[in-house]
Symmetry: C2
Subunit: 659 residues, 2 copies
């Protein structure tokens, strides 16, 4: 009549973390503690017991952890994740008749109720049953309790025995789970290495690293000490492959000349090779391997740009014509956004009959660079390739190399950006560059750093890129650069800058209304003369603060605090006892002052005790008491306070002799 | 290598309505239009086409409706639901290469681009393919377009042809769906009759309907004209079954005497029968059937109370001892909440080995009363029986009788109440009785009337019940009754009162701090002398307004508007052109006045045009302009305005001769 067992009375629902109901993995980094929660309830007033099961993909046995009720039928348990790769968790819960009986026995005794003999006999029945299920050791211990209950001792003594913690532990271990409800699904959690969650990126064009002429990997090596000193731990290089000659671009994206112009590194492929080759003027593949190794010695990882597109001269155009779309006139379809044409770029045709070999070919491109020691990839325009392709290729590659990091360069609509995160990208570029008011920043980062979004998308905040020189930077003067830098580095545990343009405050656009750099490095080789007039020291200081303060190495605890000045943004992050409070102006022109109103409860600060705020940028220390405090920021001096908060300031009461 | 077809590029997610991802049905009533939405997107910039499929459970073929984009990758389509029972819907979406080509052709032409010959050939290829898929009629029409393209006509003329709406319709009908993404699941929608969503309940004890002595069903019949005049359409009777003698309750829940006390109707079952029998003093089963019929003649449906529990004298205690739990001393376990004992009540043991026969027995109880013509059941304490039991029994019963309505009397924790809605209960009692401030009411009703909650839980608001005489009613005087009544009747399309206690303003509790009525009808027979001093006329007026205004017959459009007085609540509901605006005081003692600030946009009102507000209670009409308006409410006169808003007030400009 009824297919289910109608005696499974417990309901489990509304799990977290669970991205799209477990369809995608929730993202965590090694060392995190996963807090798993669920709504667990049943009819009536019986006591429920619930356990969390979890295991790493490499383990065959589930580990078990008892869950605790948080109130309002929400339950929680935590498990640490140390290994890279996938963990799964699920939940089992049941009506615990023994605990119900135990709770009611307490109530009866407290109320002086009679009838306790019968109650003890009910308890005894359950102990008998539990002993029957128990291993020898537990059985023996249970039998001792049972023997007392069956003896002639006074009821009071028997009841005293029932309050034993040992008994509760024994009965829980051997609880009757016959009618337990087990969650049908298992919720996946993917654990990446810590750098997925905390990284400091520097982008530079290797061809501009030369000291005259075309830069090389050797030239880049010479930059490493400077980058390490500034505190960067990822050096991202735009494509390093041979550049096509056909329709080669000249300066400022004008039609160029293959003989004299360097062209765009994103026009990938020439007679000298494609995605697995190195542009000869940069050096050899051995030079590249050496760069990877030298960088590693400086604590810097090389990140490569993966742009799946081909110049008309790419070897694949001949080797795999079936990977490109043909027009009725027999020509290969170039990229276009009508009426704009990009004749120097052929997109791959992902609807090709031969899509499986195309997918495999792309996987092998990654594979080649992984073999050269690269573990971080910045993927160009992933939103113009099929979303299921990314889901497949990232999973494929991470099977062998769970330490890979993929940054999605998808400046596109929010749902597609989100889906790329769900599909496996470790980090995502964001709209940060265009969020300039305090209100916009607060709204956006609250969205990014809280579930559900924070479970699948890790923001990487960039104040500039070779494609993005915002109006704010164009017209805000040098303070605009320090402001945007501090915001990126403290709001987001992952951030990056495109340099040396950034630290040199390069701010001239190609033309009014454009976000393109004038004389952009995308189309020509540049030479960056040595200079002392840049913000390297400020960058180094902020990155040192990031390194010293675990609070800034994650986003989950980001909280905004009220201010009475729309130009001042106030926010905190904490990690255990490490609490960092940032107060930043978003106005690059004028001094701004006002009152901040700290949410002391969120910071776990006592309203009646003074606490110390230590400005990690200026070194100044202040003693604050209560939430309301005055701040003043002159962007031409320094646009932000980065306070470390110490919860407790010593007073005379701390001295022993005071008492 | 890859199991999926990597060329299915479209992603569909985040459907609505979808209760727990489609695990439960979304609730609607006959005549509703279901607005289905989903996030639909793909890589790149190609144009997507999407269709919604839906069908009623009685239909084997899906109907199809094209979806339209709402912006930000959200898509929508609507379908009407007229039949009772289950509908299902799902979605299919694909990259529409023809529409992409068509959009780009428009851009090329607008930009004066060349190369149009090749473009037309690409379009022609797609038309050929579509013609190959098309039925004869469409094929013929497509061939006409193709013939033009293949002719020697000038390119301009060919392009003109491409803008034909006919062509777009033909190409959509025969679109290439080979790589379409079809949603894996089908989302269920359960359609109930309109009364599930709009009903007006009156609860009374039939035994108190007498004019001296124990009331009968015949006495209840005499009440029907009064109830119909007041505008009630459901008459809910507490249990009408034989009452147990063992441990029978006396007045005020004191121990009673089976010989002289009437007992509690919830102590169900005696030698005279159980859940399928009628208490002899109320009449016979034929009398009951007659009552059902007479009521129907007055537009009133009889709702029965189903309380699955037994008095110790219930025939089932002997017939099915296995349906009850035995204690070790051989006695049957009575209900208790230690240390409280309810020895007059035996709960059923839903963990019985014989649970399947128990479930079937309970189903047959419903079945019996359905056979007597009852279609509405108020279920007593459903949260103390297993939740899966309700899911099963309601589905079983509604298979045959989709017009059944079940009201869940579960005053328990929110998640259990919610789950009972998901499991199939048509309506649910709420916490309304204890939400007394304007702020509490607003927060609670915003929670109840918006998705996700509104998709699975239909509130039924009761200002009082035989178990609930709130402090607000005890101490608020007569205005407390009118206030709570107006709020229930206008905030919630389903509401009920327990009378005549309510309309007679009965407000004396058994003792201070208790919500029990003094001398409650639950434990004794009462006689209600005829009285003119009650609020029947007011009730009738409000119920007439509900009947005349479709806006008040649903909750989905409930919107709150700001006021500057914490004691004044302002809210609107609309249904097409029918807009009702309520302004109510929650203070039963003092006159309150203040400014309301209408959200004109939500009401679709023009800030620059006067609109008429017509107080349906007082008959007064005012002309308002703009959102800010002054109101004053004296609870001793009338505690609320129920305005009908007419969007447009005629002015001299409406006369033809003005122009």
């Amino acid at each position: 009549m009824v297919e289910l067992d109608g005696r499974r009375r417990v309901i489990i629902e509304n799990l977290s973390p669970a991205v799209d109901n477990g369809r995608f993995a929730a993202k965590r980094v090694a060392g995190d503690v996963v807090v798993a929660e669920a709504d667990i309830f049943a009819d009536g007033h019986d006591v429920i017991s619930a356990v969390l099961y979890w295991r790493h993909q490499s383990e065959s046995d589930w580990r078990e952890m008892r869950m605790r009720p948080l109130g309002n039928d929400r339950w929680s348990a935590e498990f640490p994740v140390e290994s890279l790769g996938f963990y799964r968790f699920t939940i089992e819960a049941w009506i615990d008749h023994f605990l119900t009986w135990h709770r009611d026995l307490r109530k009866r005794v407290d109320a002086g109720a009679g009838d306790l003999d019968v109650q003890l006999r009910i308890g005894l029945q359950m102990m008998h049953a539990a002993a029957g299920r128990a291993h020898a050791r537990d059985r023996k211990k249970l039998q001792a309790f049972m023997a007392t209950l069956e003896s002639d001792e006074p009821v009071e003594d028997k009841i005293d025995d029932m309050w034993s913690e040992d008994l509760l532990a024994l009965m829980f271990r051997n609880s009757e789970r016959k009618f337990a409800t087990k969650l049908a699904g298992e919720m996946p959690v993917e654990v990446d290495r810590r750098k997925s969650g905390y990284s400091t990126w520097y982008e530079m064009f290797p061809r501009s690293a030369g000291q005259g002429g075309h830069g090389t990997f050797r030239d880049v090596e010479r930059e490493l000490p400077r980058l390490a000193r500034m505190g960067f731990d990822v050096l991202y290089l735009p494509p390093i492959h041979p550049i096509g000659a056909t329709f080669r671009k000249g300066p400022n994206n004008k039609p160029g000349n293959a003989a004299s112009d360097a062209g765009s590194p994103w026009a990938i492929g020439s007679a000298q090779g494609g995605h697995s080759a190195v542009h000869p003027q940069l050096g050899t593949i051995d030079d590249f391997r050496r760069l990877v190794k030298t960088a590693s010695g400086h604590g810097v990882e090389i990140a490569l740009d993966i742009a799946f597109q081909a110049s008309p001269d790419h070897p694949l155009v001949r080797e795999h014509p079936d990977w490109f779309r043909k027009r009725p006139d027999g020509k290969i379809q170039y990229a276009e956004n009508p009426p704009k044409k990009y004749e120097d770029i052929y997109p791959f045709d992902f609807e090709s009959e031969d899509w499986q070999s195309l997918w495999a070919g792309m996987r092998d491109v990654f594979g080649f660079w992984i073999d050269q020691g690269v573990r971080i990839f910045r993927v160009d325009n992933p939103h113009t390739k099929p979303l299921p392709f990314w889901q497949w290729i990232i999973a494929e590659l991470k099977k062998e190399h769970p330490d890979l990091i993929f940054l999605a360069e998808a400046f596109t609509r929010p749902k597609i950006m989100g889906w790329l995160g769900k599909a496996g990208f470790s980090q995502s570029y964001t709209y940060f560059a265009w969020r300039n008011t305090a209100w916009e920043l607060r709204e956006y980062f609250e969205h990014l750093t809280r579930p559900p979004v924070s479970d699948y998308l890790r923001p990487n905040a960039w104040p500039n890129t070779p494609d993005i020189l915002t109006e704010y930077l164009q017209y805000g003067g040098e303070p605009a650069f320090t402001i945007r830098f501090v915001l990126a580095a403290t709001l987001s545990s992952n951030y990056g800058i495109y340099g040396p343009a950034f630290e040199r405050h390069v701010h001239q656009a190609r033309e009014p209304g454009s976000e393109e750099y004038l004389d952009s490095e995308k189309y020509e080789v540049k030479r960056w003369e040595p200079s002392d007039d840049d913000m390297s020291d400020f960058i180094a200081a902020v990155n040192r603060i990031r390194r010293d303060n675990p609070a800034l190495q994650q986003n989950a605890t980001l909280r905004f605090h009220e201010t009475d000045n729309d130009s001042i943004l106030c926010y905190s992050k904490s990690s255990g006892d490490n609490i960092v409070l940032c107060v930043a102006t978003v106005d690059p022109h004028n001094t701004q002052s006002g009152w901040v109103d700290l949410d002391l409860e969120a910071l776990d600060l006592d309203a009646n005790h003074a606490f110390q705020v230590h400005d990690l940028l200026s070194g100044a220390r202040h003693s604050w008491r209560g939430g309301r405090n005055f701040v003043q920021l002159n962007p031409h001096v320094v646009p932000a306070h980065i306070f470390r908060i110490r919860r407790r300031v010593r007073t005379e009461r701390d001295f022993e002799y005071y008492l």
